[in-house]
């Protein structure tokens, strides 16, 4: 059992928790993820590490309430326990030799992008951050990004905060104006990452994308998280849990990844409805 050391509501659908897991806290690096189960009958879900406090033995996770399991997790209060918490999994974000980086985050993906931005800042790199949300009330982590970014642009789809439009608009402007990033790191919805790759392509800037496919064990056993890479005209299978979650954005078959992400859409909708009814009864 793993204790919830703190809980904070970041916006109506996004919650932050710190979980006591000293072994994971001692090891986790930006870009890695954990797998948790809320209770004894629960589903295993992967969540990216949003920060650690090795001294307190805690790992920070930030999750969007999208399904039955994240809904259930959100009912847990500070001081309560979750059943399982395993990690850190995946390969940490590659930081060596990068002195000028652009971080592009979308929605709850910003929770994953933030510790990556912090890490580059800590290593002395010049950090440009572009973060996007649907609207002002979904904005998260603005202060944290400000603290670790040399430049920060906030975008909203509806213009209710920051600039109106999506994250590729300022990215294209910067690239057009001659900014030469060593790399662009993008984390967010697949469709957003696909467009970030498309925006960067004409300039030949490397793009790292963070993939978040459906996963079960997360340890390199089940193969459910496989992703198709297009390399030299050939299709290769890679596994997000052990080969990723970061990949070269130019190699990802985004369309397939998007389709695979919808594999259980119908079952997930039913599970969510059942869970919502349960939560209503509990209230």
């Amino acid at each position: 059992m793993y204790r919830i050391a703190s809980k904070k509501v970041l916006n109506p659908t996004v919650t932050q928790m710190e979980i006591e897991a000293p072994l994971v806290a001692a090891k986790a690096k930006p870009g890695q993820f954990i797998i948790l189960r809320v209770d004894g009958d629960g589903e295993r879900i992967p969540l990216t590490v949003a920060g650690t406090d090795p001294a307190r033995g805690t790992v920070k996770i930030i999750f969007q309430i999208v399904g039955a399991t994240t809904g259930l997790l959100n009912t847990k209060r500070e001081g309560e326990f979750i059943e399982d918490f395993a990690g850190p999994l995946g390969v940490p974000t590659h930081t060596e030799g990068i002195s000028k980086v652009c971080i592009v985050g979308g929605g709850v993906g910003c929770a994953i992008a933030m510790p990556v931005a912090e890490e580059f800042h800590r290593l002395g790199a010049e950090v440009t951050s572009i973060i996007g949300f649907r609207s002002r009330d979904l904005l998260i982590l603005e202060d944290e990004f400000k603290a670790c970014s040399d430049r920060l642009t906030v975008m909203t789809d509806d213009g209710s905060y920051g600039r109106k439009g999506n994250v590729t608009v300022p990215l294209k402007e910067l690239l057009e104006a001659g900014e030469r990033f060593d790399t662009i790191i993008t984390i967010g919805p697949l469709i957003m990452m696909k467009f970030v790759v498309a925006a960067a392509r004409p300039y030949g800037v490397p793009v790292t994308v963070s993939m978040n496919p459906i996963m079960i064990d997360g340890t390199g056993m089940c193969g459910g998280c496989r992703i198709t890479l297009l390399r030299d005209g050939r299709r290769e299978t890679a596994f997000a849990c052990v080969d990723g979650p970061d990949f070269n954005g130019y190699e990802i078959d985004f369309d397939e990844a998007m389709t695979r992400g919808r594999m259980y859409a119908e079952q997930e909708r039913r599970a969510r409805e059942r869970a919502c009814n349960l939560f209503k009864e509990a209230d």
Partner: protein, 475 residues
């Protein structure tokens, strides 16, 4: 001793009716009655040279335990089995006895061999039904050993060492101990309650099992030594599933057998309204011919599939699965498409509506017929495609059960640990790796193999660890 029962055939194993069991997850084989066990035990000739024991990877004293059954001393029989095996109720169910102990049985020359596996299961089940007394804890010898993975090799190694007084900690990456026994082998072949019972027996012996610790990630092998463990046994099991690298493997509805079985077994997706989803029903093709393929096919059937195919590129003769599993599968109505090889998985795409929810889902498996040519390196006749013989099987789900490649996590974080060309950890005859005091066994060494061979490897390594640490203590 009374005269042996010279009837040429084994007492049959009672099973659930195929038409009934195809729709439930209850155990297929229901086990011998006491009378059947006594009758079967009387078929053993108690040969002096014990050929059956030489066929057992963990050297269970088979004639001795069978003699105890004849005497009506089932607990005595259990004690004899336990001296050699940490998992009697598991082995009695999933061991391929027909190619091990029973293959060597003298009775098999003129009839059927003694039903050794069935008797082992009978003894273990009877023990588990009766006894609740915790196993006694041996005197601690002051040495600490770490075991990586709680599958058959790890549990065996842990059990053998704990019985000798070692303080053993088993590190398991998943949330439940048992490894392939819980995520891989389905409930209808090996009830999970039995695995839980066997791991509980090990806990009573003093073995500590720590779940949610991924060696190679949460802790490294080097850190285990820093924590005071004097030897490490790696039984991390099979790794990433193999795919065929044919077009369409990224479509929705394509699973590895590992994923499909993990969803159903470990995550209990076979229940109604499961929290972990799985594709149920429809038409299913399982590619491969091993035990895992049989498990996947029979699981799909029980999940409500209207039609399940096994697609295998060689013939029935080369099919590597256990005979008994193949027979059970056939009885349940699995359709074997032999000498067929998949060449492409076809999917749905609505040209007019990119948002059609059916887009990207499997519609068919395109196969080519094969014929057997000259023998290949494995000695089996090589299957070669018959030109122009392609055909399609209309299916909704395709499950690839064509083996696995060893997990890279430990190798990549352990300096000096060498692996072979296929990624299997290199070990000597004691199970010792290229790193001092680091041993390995099971699928992490051999690639996909059997539960009992993994147990044999765990046993060998436990004996070697005991010798090494005893010598160190004396030296």
């Amino acid at each position: 001793m009374a005269r042996p029962n010279m009837r040429p055939d084994k007492n049959p194993m009672p099973t659930q009716d195929p038409a009934v069991r195809a729709h439930n997850f209850d155990e297929v084989a229901t086990g011998y009655t006491y009378e059947a066990a006594l009758d079967e035990a009387a078929r053993c000739l108690n040969c002096k040279n014990m050929p059956c024991v030489s066929g057992c990877p963990v050297n269970i004293q088979i004639p001795a335990f069978i003699a105890r059954i004849r005497e009506g001393d089932c607990e005595g029989a259990y004690r004899i089995i336990s001296e050699s095996s940490s998992l009697p109720a598991v082995c009695g169910r999933v061991c391929p006895q027909e190619s091990q102990c029973e293959m060597k049985c003298v009775r098999g020359i003129k009839g059927e061999p003694v039903g050794i596996g069935r008797l082992e299961r009978f003894v273990a089940d009877r023990h588990n039904e009766g006894s609740t007394a915790p196993a006694g804890r041996p005197e601690p010898n002051g040495h600490k050993v770490a075991v990586v993975g709680s599958g058959p090799s790890g549990l065996t190694c842990a059990g053998d060492l704990a019985r000798k007084g070692y303080a053993v900690t088993v590190f398991e990456a998943l949330h439940t101990p048992g490894g392939v026994l819980v995520y891989g082998i389905p409930e209808f072949r090996l009830p999970k309650a039995i695995v839980a019972r066997e791991t509980e027996t090990l806990r009573q012996l003093g073995v500590e099992i720590r779940t949610n610790v991924i060696i190679g990630k949460t802790l490294t092998v080097d850190e285990l030594f820093e924590l005071g463990y004097e030897a490490v046994f790696i039984g991390s099991g099979a790794g990433l599933p193999n795919f065929m690298n044919i077009p369409g493997e990224g479509l929705n509805g394509v699973y590895s057998a590992n994923e499909f079985l993990t969803r159903s077994n470990l995550m209990k997706a076979y229940l109604d309204d499961p929290v972990t989803p799985i594709m149920k029903g429809g038409r299913v093709a399982v590619v491969g011919g091993g035990n895992v393929a049989m498990d996947a096919a029979r699981t799909a059937l029980r999940l409500g599939a209207e039609k399940v195919y096994i697609v295998y590129r060689r013939s029935m003769e080369e099919l590597p699965a256990r005979r008994e599993e193949v027979e059970h599968a056939e009885e349940e109505g699995i359709d074997f498409r032999l000498l067929c090889n998949p060449v492409e998985i076809l999917g749905y795409r609505n040209p007019d509506d990119p948002r059609d929810p059916k887009n990207g889902f499997v519609t068919a498996l395109r196969c080519v017929r094969m014929e057997l040519g000259e023998p290949d390196q494995s000695g089996r006749r090589r299957p070669v495609p018959v030109e122009g013989s392609e055909f399609e099987l209309a299916v909704d789900t395709v499950i690839m059960a064509i083996g696995t490649s060893p997990n890279p996590l430990i190798k990549s974080t352990t300096q000096g640990l060498e692996v072979n060309r296929r990624g299997g950890i290199i070990v000597d005859e004691d199970g010792l790796t290229t790193r001092p005091a680091v041993y390995a066994g099971g699928d992490a060494v051999t690639g996909s193999a059997t539960v009992i061979s993994a147990m044999g490897a765990g046993k060998t390594a436990a004996a070697a660890i005991d010798r090494a640490l005893s010598a160190k203590a004396e030296g």
